[in-house]
Symmetry: C2
Subunit: 235 residues, 2 copies
DNA sequence: TGAAGTGGCATCCTCTTGA
DNA sequence: TCAAGAGGATGCCACTTCA
């Protein structure tokens, strides 16, 4: 669980309306992250971009961005070390956080539930309809166009995959167990024919099969969810 | 560091002759692990095979594979593993020495240095010459054909990549910093034209460019290392 | 010299929680 | 319901060890 996932938690950014102190504290870090953008160190076997293999020197720098999406953030947000960017400036940081209100740790730390906007859900669904997994660059791009953090996009896809899997395993034991997931799923990255997809807000994505969008009709149907999304008035 | 990498450590298996108590202790786990073989769940954005997305229940089996590059194959194809037929066994030697004495924990835990055979190095080099990264299925296949553990193959490639990078960065700051690594590197897995490669002991590998092997001449030259490998008497 | 060890970080998955 | 949190697994990289 150390380097797990919750790194850049910074929940909502713009889109969602709910937030707690934690969120506020995390906000700043998000911005910086994108700047470095060295992401994608990991995609080892992929085709993807990642051409540079940046020869970064020390690991300490890692914190900031390094890899993809989240990175570093986690550690501090849970307390431990390196006080969150924000105020951390002063060495006394740790102390500061504590001092705030006597027992900061003791607080319950309410769990917030971000509610994505229709537009966000729509685009996420549409993208998911094309591919079940996103490369870090695609994720970054999508997140950027949706005003969400990459972590949110990642988590959304994770939960979405889970949901689809659950649906498939439950309401039908019949044909194809869960192939639905792998099929269009694992993004087939064929370097070469990337096409500008309006779904990803201009991000380059290998077009699998065009999703009706924008469509002449005011509604779009997503095969997976079986839901219709109104294109009008979608926030 | 929890879930880091040391997982299937099982050091030498067959090829190497040295090992310590630790190794012995680890042996058992190795087997089990491969059985589940879940590896390859990771490759997100790649192309690869991975068609199935088996709906495995618990995490113990975790395995799965999912996405891109590596994925899928692994689990079943390896099936497990079964320890390599060979002789890994002989061992007695080292093992004996360690375990013998009473305080096993207290011991210094001598670090052993396995020496791969010429044949193994040759095949590893040849494979590396084709691609810098292996998918888990390829790794499993190669490991199996070389009588090495997958971890050994993985580590070898890791160290090899590092070595190449070092060489490139040092003896020439000139052109292309480290592109050499990315180039043929990130295996460009284009599902479709897999070709049976004798280099991987019959494993399916996307052929990038043929490496002279077997060759009419008794020696083979590896562009990366700049070394020649004699094909005769290579253990 | 080079196979391993160590530590850090990232992604994925499964299960669980709580607004 | 569903975005997140938590925990476990595996991979890669940078460095370091030490036969």
């Amino acid at each position: 669980m150390p380097g797990n996932m919750s790194k850049e938690d910074a929940p909502s950014r713009g889109a969602s309306l709910t937030f707690t102190i934690d969120h506020i504290l995390n906000l700043k870090q998000r911005g910086g992250q994108e700047l470095y953008a060295s992401k994608e160190r990991r995609g080892k076997g992929c085709t993807e971009d990642l051409q540079a293999w940046d020869v970064r020197r020390r690991r300490d720098s890692t914190s900031e961005e390094t890899a993809q999406t989240k990175t570093a953030a986690r550690r501090e947000d849970r307390g431990e070390n390196t006080p969150p960017p924000t105020a951390c400036a002063s060495p006394g940081a740790a102390a500061a956080s504590e001092q705030k209100d006597a027992e900061p740790k003791v607080q319950v730390k309410k769990k917030t539930r971000t509610i994505f906007s229709k537009r966000q859900i729509f685009q996420l669904e549409a993208t998911f309809d094309m591919k079940r997994y996103l490369s870090s660059s695609e994720r970054a791009c999508l997140a950027n166009s949706l005003q969400l953090t990459e972590t949110q996009v990642k988590i959304w896809f994770q939960n979405r995959r889970n949901k689809l899997k659950r649906q498939l395993t439950t309401d039908m034991e019949g044909p194809a167990p869960a192939e639905h997931l792998s099929e269009a799923g694992k993004n087939v990255q064929l370097p070469g024919f990337y096409k500008d997809s309006s779904l990803l807000g201009g991000c380059l994505l290998p077009m699998q099969f065009p999703v009706v969008y924008p469509s002449p009709a005011p509604y779009v149907f997503f095969s997976n969810t079986g839901k219709y999304f109104g294109l009008l008035g979608a926030e």
